[in-house]
Symmetry: C2
């Protein structure tokens, strides 16, 4: 046993979600706190998920002709000043390095628009250089003062940030949406995370953007978690960074830009949705090991059972199985691998061998069944597929149960107080949002679904002015 | 055309290696200088190479049961003090962040032994937790004051660092060597870079290690480039970070550790070896595109030629081909893709189509031949294979031509002055190395091959004491 406690989760998800989350993350060995305040260690079980996210997303963006690159960690202070809103928005969170002999302070990137667009202004000359589509995988530093929450709010995290430049507003607009749709697919297909997708309010958009699109989820505690954003930057940064190009008509023009990102926060969302009182449940597609094999060992039969277990291990090579032949009781092992979230457990004892079968146990619903060894590969593949789909369906149901439609501000406040997210007709105006936040103990607008972004006959649930679409509101992480 | 100059390399590799290198890196769009002093931008053509290195190495270490993880960028100053030699060795190069409210300064990692071993001391309890094998891919900051050279010396670079912990000295010793051998294979098989492999001297070993193994190459200018290291840390860090475990015998013990790394420096080595006066030559295995197709377009036949070119593009999908149908002359395009190092060029004009053939041109030796379109796929695959092997053979010959065996210090100085690396019998003693460096204008020991690490009858070429093996010496990057 390691120094870390091997006891299970000591609180119930329903009863103390915040404490439950912290225990699941640490005890399943996804992540650990660092001695460095506000920082986290992403342990192998979680880093594996991040690599699966990277592989999946790299394939998606390759098809969209995006290429990966890497830009410096450091940003000169003067770059930050150039786009006024952007500078203002990020100032409170920037960490600076102190030993620069050059006089100017250097920021550690809280996001890379400024340092990347400085290069773009050197590289882009003609319409032939556009569209330019570059993505980077990088670590990001935001000097948060709020409480640390592993994967959700730490001073350093990992992400990808895409930065594209286009000749026309139309292309920029269209692709800003396309990257968001890819995020949605990645969340649903790979991580079994349901999302609500839409446009953020004026108040909540990215500092320096014309508008921001987002994917979000409502977590089991009713709080919203923003998981990915795609910003249409218009020509704002092109102006401040003097990015311009010679058009086909021989005229000097300003290009249009977007930027978009997802982060290791997704791993936190995965744990929040798919964990239960026994621990984590890993969606099969991102599990570091899809199957654990537990031999039931008695003195007389252990050689035979172990031999068969090894045969099965070999047979299931594709699922990267763990054969747990350590000197612990089967029950102890069941607990350990349930805690860590391995999607399928195979139990094999002397009686099973006589019948040429094993017991297959699903982590997501505890369903047990006997399976003939002959059919095992096929059964495992089918079960993994079912588990993956079931997790998404369950999570979607969970999310929807946390959203309530409200008609007025009194219903709104009641719902928020009860730990729910709400959907309501709303005007979208910044001043109205400020007031809502103040009077509801911190509820913020999440986003407005695309098909509902229009002037409605309805009125704003709060200020009674004409509504502009239906919106989600919630307290948020 | 982009703002960057599209002219070719303006100096010869033989005549001004340093200027040639800088031009190749920038003009082939591998990397660019950042406005941030000492930092570089790794552009997509080079980042692709880095991803190939990552994929290749991840496969190698997975077989060795190493798992990837991610540790914080920041290291508290007090961690640094714990291993005295280590602290002393890295002190001059550390960048610090200034806005920590906690009182203690935070270093930006110049290497992660200390921050990782702080976690290991919490995670490791019993012999059952060992061996522990973790690797991380990360950015590293060393506040260099020497001149910046893209990929070779920058204040930030990317690398991997492996950190393993073992019960016994024997295991640690054995695996310290195994990781180095994997580096050698990666360099030779993937990057076509020849290496010399061996142990570093006492003076040149890693700060805090018992000994350091390295892979190095002698570059075309006679300077040595260290490309990968594997350090046996003994129990030094285990002591300072209080990592201990309960042995099978029930006794508390100190474990043994190693750490090992390669970096984006390898991309610099690749360019140094495989470039020529026309630009870069990419080894096929790491080329972002293995083939460029240039249609020879005349007004009358261009539709037909373009159609055939597109068919070929589709046929060669596996090679990620570029079909360059831009409105430039064929000659201009040849220059551009030679500069960028695409391994194979296919020329296709109206006369070729009549004969159902194309012209295939190898970048590495300019060899041209006609190939029937029917056989094209097979021919391309065979040619790529030959180019890959030829590049390694050429580079090895190049490297060997830069190494001369010397008998005494007068020969040594003459060789170093002539821009050569040397091989000589040497005592290995630090004081002797200090004197050699002083008196030779900066030559350092590189390493000593494994099969030659023994007491010889021969004497040290410099101090005439008994030699301990034969060693490489050179000026170095």
């Amino acid at each position: 046993m390691s120094k870390e406690t091997q006891e299970g989760i000591t609180v119930k998800k329903e009863e103390n979600f915040s404490e439950w989350y912290q225990q699941v993350i640490q005890k399943s060995q996804l992540a650990d706190y660092s001695t460095v305040k506000g920082c986290m260690i992403i342990r192998p079980n979680a880093y594996h998920i991040w690599q699966e996210i990277q592989d999946d997303f790299n394939k998606r963006i390759k098809k969209l002709k995006v290429r990966n690159a890497y830009f410096p960690l450091f940003i000169p202070e003067s770059f930050f000043q150039r786009e006024a809103e952007h500078a203002e928005g990020f100032k409170p969170e920037v960490a600076w390095i102190s030993n620069t002999e050059e006089g100017e302070r250097l920021a550690i990137r809280p996001t890379s628009e400024t340092v990347i667009y400085d290069s773009y202004s050197k590289w882009i000359r003609s319409h032939r250089d556009l569209p330019l589509r570059i993505n980077q995988w990088a670590n990001i530093v935001r000097w948060e003062t709020k409480a640390t929450r592993l994967f959700i709010r730490t001073r350093e995290f990992l992400w990808q940030e895409g930065h594209c430049v286009y000749e026309t507003e139309e292309e920029c607009d269209k692709e800003t949406r396309i990257y968001l749709e890819e995020y949605k697919k990645l969340c649903e297909d790979l991580l079994a995370i349901p999302v609500i997708i839409g446009r953020k309010s004026e108040k909540e958009k990215f500092a320096g953007a014309n508008y921001t699109l987002s994917i979000e989820s409502i977590m089991p505690d009713g709080k919203a978690l923003q998981m990915g954003t795609s910003h249409n930057l218009g020509q704002n940064f092109a102006k401040s960074f003097k990015i311009n190009f010679l058009g086909e008509d021989g005229k000097e023009k300003l290009p249009w830009q977007n930027s978009w990102g997802i982060s290791t926060r997704l791993i936190g969302a995965l744990a929040m949705f798919h964990g239960d009182d026994k621990g984590l449940i890993l969606p099969p597609k991102v599990a570091f090991s899809k199957v654990v094999i537990i031999p039931i060992l008695f003195k007389k039969t252990q050689d035979k059972v172990l031999k068969k277990a090894k045969e099965i291990e070999k047979k299931l090579e594709k699922q990267n199985p763990i054969l747990d032949d350590r000197d612990y009781s089967p029950g102890w092992k069941y607990n350990e691998w349930e805690l860590k979230g391995i999607p399928i457990r195979i139990e094999i004892g002397p009686k099973d061998i006589e019948k040429n079968q094993v017991i297959l146990v699903r982590r997501d619903n505890n369903e047990k069944k006997s399976v003939k060894i002959l059919n095992l590969q096929k059964e495992i593949e089918a079960s993994l597929d079912i588990i993956q789909k079931n997790l998404l369906a369950k999570a979607r149901k969970q999310m929807e149960s946390k959203i309530v439609l409200v008609k007025d501000f009194s219903e709104f406040k009641k719902a928020i107080k009860a730990g729910m997210a709400v959907k309501a007709h709303w005007c979208g105006v910044r001043k109205c949002e400020d007031e809502i936040k103040d009077k509801s103990g911190g509820a913020k607008s999440i986003n407005t679904p695309f098909d509902q972004q229009k002037n409605l006959k309805e009125r704003c649930f709060h200020c009674n002015e004409p509504a502009y679409g239906t919106w989600y509101f919630a307290k948020s992480y």
